[in-house]
């Protein structure tokens, strides 16, 4: 590609060979493909998971083998970094070898080249003219200008004026920018990777802690990192109202604790929703304090909108419920007329009921819950197949006697069907897949007190031997209304009655002797924040810009050179046109043919 320069060797042969091999294109192609193939591993094997999961998945033998190959964190391990480092070394050597001649070439215009050099140009046309030297020059300049070339006159060895024109003189910048960009990029990435820490881990001065249950105060000092670390990336989960000054970084199968350069308080957390109940945004309000307790800054952290504090970026990463208070009402089906028992609990808690025969464990709490409309007997229109059922708890009931487990979902918000409001409880026995739903009619008052009273009265009537006639049903509904002092509007009475009978039918397949209703909740959120300090970002962005701009020049800015030499030693002057291009020879050839025609027309 480059013109040969007479080589002057100062290094011994062995170094020259190493440099030549390292800088060769062949090695570059192979290394590029090798890195590509090595990268596949980490996409197939999930990275940085809990080590016991791997052990479970692969068995003890392969777990150890894969562990020794560092496959659980491929992209940060020695051998992968080694290959990348090799690729970068190769690129660097290539740039170091090629840059000086390229820069020389761009600075120096080969305006009066030797006849030998010109003969070797791929394009060569000859014409004859009887005009004067100056006239020929003028015509040639005009022809070149028509093709967008700025001609300049140069003196040849005999002192005659000849022409030279070129486009894309700085085309080599494409090569330089792309390759230097890649090297710069890696420098930035290494800067961000906090090499001193890697070194400390490797030599053992820093120990990742493996016990994830340890409270912060018990974590040994060797697992702590100072707040002056040049780069870090970690996560921390903060309950609303609490303040932290450290966060966690996962390393291999353990973690390190990173001191933050400030104290961070989560003032508030909010989830906003679309009209159909899907999450729209997660917003944390945080205050940043100096270590001496002075307020430094307050701000909002949203998804896609991190907060920047003194070179440290804070991101909204996740959120979770942290001990929200859940209030439940527990009705006994054996004696439904009794007022319900009040229970206050939280996610992850266990409670016993029914004389310790049953254990209830609350497994989940969501403020929004989108389910298919069909599941609750509503028609579904186009684009609205789903309905948002609002806050929901999921809990699991275990019968200690026979080991039977029932999964239950209880919804706080009633939903409306044909103008009547219903409470929804979904249940399924462990092992079956689909939830059955109880749709219990609500009276005008929030809750199912009226229904339970009605159920009690009907059971009472049945045990008294009353017939199942409509009159009896109506009489007992009136009785239940009088007992609870909850009165239905007359037009809803019939609907309520029918819905109640339907639920009583459904209750036959309900496997538990009690009904637990979700009554109220007090929200307590925690926000998961990711906190990073990446000092190398400016370098990386510069490198990226250089890379893209370089690729553009590399592909779309060719260098094209044209020499026009006039030999006036004879009466009929011989005009020779020489030209070369750095890429796309075919089109260039066509252009040069046209140029030559134009030139001949003007002569």
């Amino acid at each position: 590609m480059l013109e040969a320069h007479a080589p002057v060797y100062t290094e011994p042969l062995s170094i020259r060979i190493v440099v030549r091999v390292l800088g060769s294109m062949r090695l570059a192609v192979h290394l590029l493909l090798f890195v590509a193939i090595a990268s596949i591993i980490g996409t197939i094997l999930p990275q940085q998971e809990v080590y016991t999961d791997y052990l479970h998945q692969f068995g003890p033998f392969w777990f150890t083998v894969l562990g020794h190959l560092d496959l659980y964190d491929v992209y940060r391990c020695g051998w992968y970094m080694g290959i990348v480092a090799f690729l970068i070394t190769s690129t660097t050597v290539c740039v170091l070898r090629n840059a000086p001649p390229m820069v020389r070439e761009m600075r120096h215009v080969p305006s009066s080249p030797s006849a030998h050099f010109l003969k070797k140009r791929p394009e060569h046309f000859t014409s004859i003219s009887a005009k004067a030297h100056g006239e020929i020059l003028q015509s040639a300049v005009a022809a070149l200008r028509d093709f967008g070339y700025q001609a300049r006159s140069v003196q040849d060895t005999a002192g005659k004026t000849q022409l030279f024109a070129q486009k894309g003189r700085f085309y080599r910048i494409g090569y330089l920018l792309t390759h230097v960009g890649i090297i710069l990029f890696c420098v930035g990435a290494i800067y961000n990777a906090n090499l001193p820490l890697k070194w400390a881990e490797w030599t053992g001065t820093v120990h990742p802690e493996k016990n994830f249950d340890l409270p912060l105060s018990k974590i040994p000092q060797s697992s702590w990192l100072s707040s002056s670390s040049s780069a870090f990336r970690g996560i921390i989960t903060i309950p609303v109202g609490q303040t932290v000054n450290a966060m966690f970084e996962l390393v291999g199968d353990g973690f390190l604790v990173q001191h933050l350069p400030f104290m961070l308080r989560l003032d508030a957390f909010k989830v906003t929703h679309y009209s159909n109940g899907l999450a729209k945004d997660f917003v944390s309000k945080v205050s940043i304090y100096h270590h001496n307790g002075k307020l430094f800054k307050t701000g909002i952290v949203r998804v896609n909108h991190p907060l920047s504090v003194d070179g440290v970026q804070i991101y909204q990463s996740s959120y979770s419920d942290s001990a929200s208070k859940l209030q439940l009402h527990n009705y006994l089906l054996s004696d439904p007329g009794l007022p319900p028992a009040h229970i206050v609990t939280g996610v992850g808690e266990q409670l016993k009921t029914f004389g310790a025969k049953y254990a209830i464990s609350i497994s989940d709490f969501k403020t929004q819950n989108v389910i298919p409309r069909k599941a609750v007997g509503l028609s579904s229109g186009p684009n609205q197949g789903m309905i948002n059922m609002g806050p929901t708890i999921s809990y699991q009931v275990t019968n200690h006697r026979n080991g039977m487990q029932v999964l239950i979902k209880s919804y706080l918000k009633p939903f409306s069907r044909n103008g009547e409001e219903y409470r929804l409880i979904g249940f399924r026995e462990k092992g079956s897949t689909a939830y059955h739903y109880l749709t219990i009619p609500q009276g005008p008052e929030h809750g199912i007190r009226l229904f339970m009273a009605y159920l009690g009265d009907l059971e009472q009537a049945a045990s008294n031997g009353d017939d199942a006639t409509k009159a009896i049903f109506i009489r007992n509904l009136d009785k239940a209304q009088a007992q609870t002092k909850i009165y239905l509007a007359p037009q809803y009475k019939d609907l309520f009655l029918q819905s109640s009978l339907k639920v009583m039918q459904e209750l036959r397949s309900y496997p538990l002797p009690f009904l637990t209703i979700f009554h109220h909740y007090d929200l307590h959120w925690s926000a998961g924040l990711e906190i990073t300090r990446y000092p190398g970002m400016k370098v990386i962005y510069t490198a990226c810009f250089a890379l893209v701009f370089g690729i553009f020049i590399l592909f779309y800015v060719p260098r094209r050179r044209i020499w026009i030499q006039i030999d006036d030693s004879k009466e009929k002057k011989k005009i020779q046109l020489f030209a070369d291009t750095s890429r796309n020879e075919e089109d260039f050839h066509r252009d040069m043919e046209e140029l030559n025609e134009q030139l001949q027309e003007r002569l």
């Binding site: 590609m1 060769s24 294109m25 062949r26 570059a28 192609v29 590029l32 493909l33 890195v35 590509a36 990268s39 596949i40 980490g42 996409t43 197939i44 990275q47 992209y75 967008g148 486009k167 894309g168 990435a189 961000n192 990336r233 679309y274 009209s275 159909n276 899907l278 729209k280 945004d281 997660f282 949203r302 998804v303 896609n304 909108h305 991190p306 970026q313 991101y315 990463s317 186009p382 684009n383 197949g385 990711e530 990073t532 990446y534 970002m537 990386i540 962005y541 990226c544 890379l547 893209v548 690729i551 553009f552 592909f555 779309y556 800015v557 060719p558 890429r583 796309n584 075919e586 089109d587």
Partner: protein
């Protein structure tokens, strides 16, 4: 004009055009300039630095495409015309439920069905041309390829308007799930195919490009029917970013070019075989050198946009996920694709590799890269998940 878009002179000036061509180009420039100002005027309340940059990029890109390729100007006007009818109907309060025009034609999902029909006809036309030499079949294939592009882009524009119908807060650019993505892939690939067809003045390659688009289209219809992804849903918080409007189009321009390069690779191999054994293909495909150059320029164009798109994605990731690069499966596969084509371009540009059968090697390489690109584009979402898994089915 050249296949390789190599001359700055051609890129930036009207030089060399006939007078009427120059006038049309000037009209195009005026039209775009007025359009850009209009966009700014209508949405000026939302404008900030990056919006100006994006508008500038679109302005420059459309200007360049329109000046280089006169047919693109007509396409642009037709797309605006079709989209205007659909958007206008929605704006004046009609929905698919009370307007037959929307129901059968102008709602985006219907329009994509019409687009699918156009793709099918176009693929059959080109295929017939390649194997039986019917010039008119090739012409019909060509016409329906244009219909595909027009309907696809107009449908996407209408879909963007439709996303505001559910609730104003739902509105988003329709590139957020697999269904939208496949529509964009089909139309972009068809558009770039037509561009290269215009450059190469040969209909034979259509028999490779359009059937591949047809496969993507079948996948699109299946995703819509089986997973109801044709229904518009609001976007999750992570996707509510301005960067999506830069990152996704860049990646799709790149994918379109990589896919086309792979199909040209296949064409190259078949043509080479036909030259050895004799066959009808010899006369209906461009010669091997030209095929190799078309393939190379596709990879180059794709590579430029892939690099830019991946970097823009990383910039976005730095804003959304806290890290420029997280070794997420999608990111890693993007790196793999990038390295693959980087190696390809090194081999293509360098003379130290054996010149014998170089074209054939490159053609095989481009064709096999189809697998890598497809895995990066779809496979990761289907099989690996990770941070990009909102595209999952």
């Amino acid at each position: 004009m050249s296949i390789e878009t190599s001359e700055i002179r051609h890129l930036l000036t009207f030089g060399g055009m006939r007078v009427e061509g120059r006038l049309a180009a000037q009209l195009w420039a005026a039209f775009l300039t007025i359009g850009a100002f209009l966009v700014w005027y209508l949405f000026r309340a939302d404008f900030w630095m990056w919006q100006f940059i994006v508008l500038g990029l679109w302005y420059a890109g459309l200007m360049w495409f329109g000046i280089r390729w006169p047919a693109f100007r007509i396409l642009f006007l037709v797309v605006i015309g079709i989209a205007a009818i659909g958007v206008g109907l929605y704006q004046s309060g009609y929905t698919a439920a009370n307007s037959a025009a929307l129901y059968y034609v102008f709602q985006s999902t219907s329009m994509f069905y019409w687009m699918s029909a156009a793709i099918l006809i176009s693929a059959i036309g080109y295929y017939r041309y390649l194997f039986s030499g019917h010039q008119s079949a090739g012409d019909w294939g060509h016409r329906f390829a244009w219909v595909t592009v027009a309907l696809g882009f107009a449908g996407l524009a209408i879909r963007w308007q439709q996303s505001y119908i559910g609730h104003p807060s739902w509105g988003h650019i329709p590139v957020t799930n697999m269904y939208d993505a496949m529509v964009l892939l089909c139309t972009t690939t068809a558009l770039f195919y037509l561009y290269y067809e215009g450059q190469g003045k040969n209909r034979g390659l259509g028999a490779f490009a359009m059937p591949m688009i047809l496969v993507a289209d079948i996948f699109l219809v299946w995703v819509g029917v089986a997973y109801h992804q044709n229904q518009i849903q609001p976007v999750i918080p992570a996707l509510q970013s301005f960067w999506i409007k830069l990152h996704v189009p860049c990646e799709f321009i790149a994918y379109a070019n990589f896919y086309l390069a792979a199909m040209v690779g296949v064409a190259y191999l078949l043509k080479e075989k036909a030259e050895r054994t004799g066959g009808a293909l010899v006369s209906r495909l461009p010669d091997l050198n030209k095929l190799e150059r078309i393939m190379g320029s596709m990879v180059m164009f794709g590579f430029l946009f892939f690099t830019a798109g991946t970097i823009l994605g990383a910039v976005w990731a730095a804003k959304a996920w806290g890290g420029f690069w997280s070794w997420d499966p999608k990111e890693t596969w993007a790196l793999i694709v990038w390295l693959n084509y980087a190696a390809y371009l090194h081999m293509r540009s360098n003379k130290s590799f054996g010149q014998q059968h170089k074209g054939r090697k490159l053609a095989w390489w481009a064709a096999i890269s189809l697998v890598t690109v497809t895995f990066c584009f779809i496979g990761v979402d289907l099989f690996l998940g990770g941070l990009h898994s909102y595209a999952k089915l």
